[in-house]
């Protein structure tokens, strides 16, 4: 029994709205796609998720979603229970980065509360009882932290979090103990990759205690020249400290990427423009395409938009393509399950239509 009745059109609503964190707006949006702040919390009175009994997790789901409803940050938000959703619907939430693979995989009482503007969300009974997440477009660490910090305070008023003076917030995995904070930026670094300088830059990032990985998490290679940079440690430094050091490192990387782009344009403008327009042409006219190819071609188009080439589509269109061409979104939009081969055909159609619409939109605007 869920405390919030959940008519199916709510999920539909969510589906039809583009993710606000992919709006292509915000500071440095031509390089930084999004900023994410995550806080891990547990209830003091219940064993951690993997060790708790079914009925205890039901209790956590109830009390946490209740506290969320009473908070200003999540008031009127949407509660989705994983056990009441189809596998494709769960996968859609994973593809939108609202839900982790662990939560999306769940058969236990797990859920997510999504605040009305979708920037804030709260996973319940993931690895930790609470995983509070703030996603903002562009490079907005301070704003993201302010959102998450306030929501955390509001939830804290109604819940008893596991906390010790020495170690701080107690988490299921000791790698998160302390602040429970993971702050990260998703950044596009095509010039550093192309000029073969990326390894050196990433190595220097790791030396200052930050972590770098590819767009789709630990288990996949980097696609589309997209990297996620995040803080590594959570104990012995304040949230502000961790965020500031991520901010400094990111600014440094942005600077390096911009310099690399300038050099690239100076030395090989024609080749770069050719690469961008060939990528755009393939996306605009393809008849069957794999999602990996979409991601890599979108990287080239994104670079072109950032370099100010005229006639390409706006950033938010490219950002949305990255999401809607994923298998679950594709099948949901199509309205039925598709084989991988059928998916490639439908994906190509979707990409062509989106880019065509964007071109017409551009024609109409002055």
């Amino acid at each position: 029994m869920s405390p919030l009745p959940q008519p199916p059109h709510d999920f539909e609503d969510l589906m039809t709205r583009p993710s606000p964190w992919l709006s292509g707006e915000g500071p440095q949006a031509d390089l930084v796609l999004s900023t994410r702040i995550r806080l891990a919390r547990n209830l003091a009175s219940v064993p951690f998720t993997h060790r708790a009994r079914e009925e205890q997790l039901q209790g956590v789901l109830l009390s946490v979603s209740g506290a969320a409803q009473r908070s200003d940050s999540f008031h009127g938000g949407l509660l989705l229970r994983m056990d009441e959703m189809s596998p494709i619907e769960r996968q859609i939430l994973v593809e939108r980065h609202l839900v982790s693979h662990e939560l999306g995989d769940a058969s236990r009482p797990r859920g997510i509360v999504i605040a009305s503007d979708e920037r804030l969300s709260l996973m319940i009974n993931e690895e930790d009882h609470l995983r509070l997440q703030a996603m903002t477009p562009g490079f907005q660490l301070a704003e993201g932290w302010a959102l998450a910090d306030r929501a955390d305070d509001e939830l804290d008023a109604g819940l008893d979090f596991a906390f010790s003076n020495d170690i701080g917030y107690l988490t299921s995995c000791p790698t998160n103990a302390g602040t429970g904070l993971r702050a990260s930026v998703l950044i596009h670094l095509p010039a550093l990759v192309l000029l073969d300088e990326i390894q050196r830059v990433l190595k220097s990032v790791m030396q200052v205690g930050l972590n770098v990985r590819g767009l789709y998490g630990e288990h996949s290679e980097v696609m589309g020249n997209l990297f996620q940079i995040s803080n590594q440690t959570t104990l012995g430094r304040s949230e502000r400290d961790s965020i500031e050091s991520l901010e400094r490192a990111t600014r440094h990387i942005i600077e390096m990427e911009r310099q690399a782009r300038e050099r690239m344009l100076r030395d090989a403008r024609v080749q770069i423009e050719d690469k961008v327009w060939r990528a755009y042409g393939t996306l605009r006219f393809c008849r069957s395409i794999h999602s990996r190819e979409v991601i890599n071609l979108c990287s080239a188009v994104r670079l072109g938009v950032a370099l100010g080439l005229e006639g390409l589509c706006p950033l938010h269109v490219i950002n949305e393509l990255l999401i809607v061409t994923q298998p679950a979104h594709l099948q949901r939009l199509h309205g039925s399950e598709l084989t991988p081969a059928e998916r490639n055909v439908y994906r190509a159609q979707l990409v062509r239509e989106r880019l065509e619409t964007a071109e017409h939109g551009a024609d109409r605007s002055p």
């Binding site: 951690f48 906390f163 010790s164 003076n165 917030y169 302390g178 602040t179 440690t233 104990l235």
Partner: protein, 176 residues
């Protein structure tokens, strides 16, 4: 009035030793500077870290026998065995942090490079936690003042620490 250094007799004693010599126990109270000059410099904090590092080393070089013994340590609340934690990397409940504290401390140090929380605190824990961190900060301040030989200010910081420590103890006794 704070205790003065037994060597110079001027600065407040902030380093305290217990020396055992010819079966006789002697307490020594000296200031930071004299301790350093006499090669007695082992502040309590650094000492603890050395032990933690030592433990960290020991955990890696444990014999199968010792490993088995540590593995049998069990959390009294959720019944998780330390050996289960080592397999999965996940603790069972908040209490595990206390039950396995001697094993976890060196581990936390290796992961984070530190073992002391510096971030935000839940509002309801606020008073106690704020106080204990305030005490920690004053201790650091005291050390700095002593190093700079600002003894008058150091003495007043010491008094402030005493007051806070007393305040921290009083309600606890009331509850027990």
């Amino acid at each position: 009035m704070s205790m003065l250094c037994q060597i110079c007799g001027k600065s407040p004693a902030t380093v305290h030793f217990t020396e055992i010599h010819d079966n006789k126990m002697t307490e020594i109270h000296v200031c930071e500077r004299c301790a350093e000059e006499k090669g007695l410099h082992t502040p309590a904090k650094k000492h603890q870290f050395d032990i933690a590092d030592l433990l960290a080393g020991m955990v890696d070089t444990m014999t199968a026998n010792e490993e088995e013994r540590v593995g049998h340590v069990q959390c009294p609340r959720c019944r998780l065995l330390y050996s289960q934690f080592k397999e999965t990397g996940r603790l069972g409940c908040a209490e595990c942090y206390t039950a396995f504290q001697f094993q976890l401390r060196p581990l936390l140090r290796r992961i984070h490079g530190d073992t002391r929380h510096q971030g935000k605190i839940p509002a309801r824990d606020g008073e106690g936690a704020t106080r204990s961190r305030q005490i920690q900060r004053l201790h650091d301040e005291l050390q700095r003042l002593v190093e700079r030989e600002e003894f008058e200010r150091a003495a007043s910081v010491r008094d402030e620490i005493r007051r806070l420590e007393l305040e921290a103890e009083t309600p606890q006794e009331g509850r027990a």
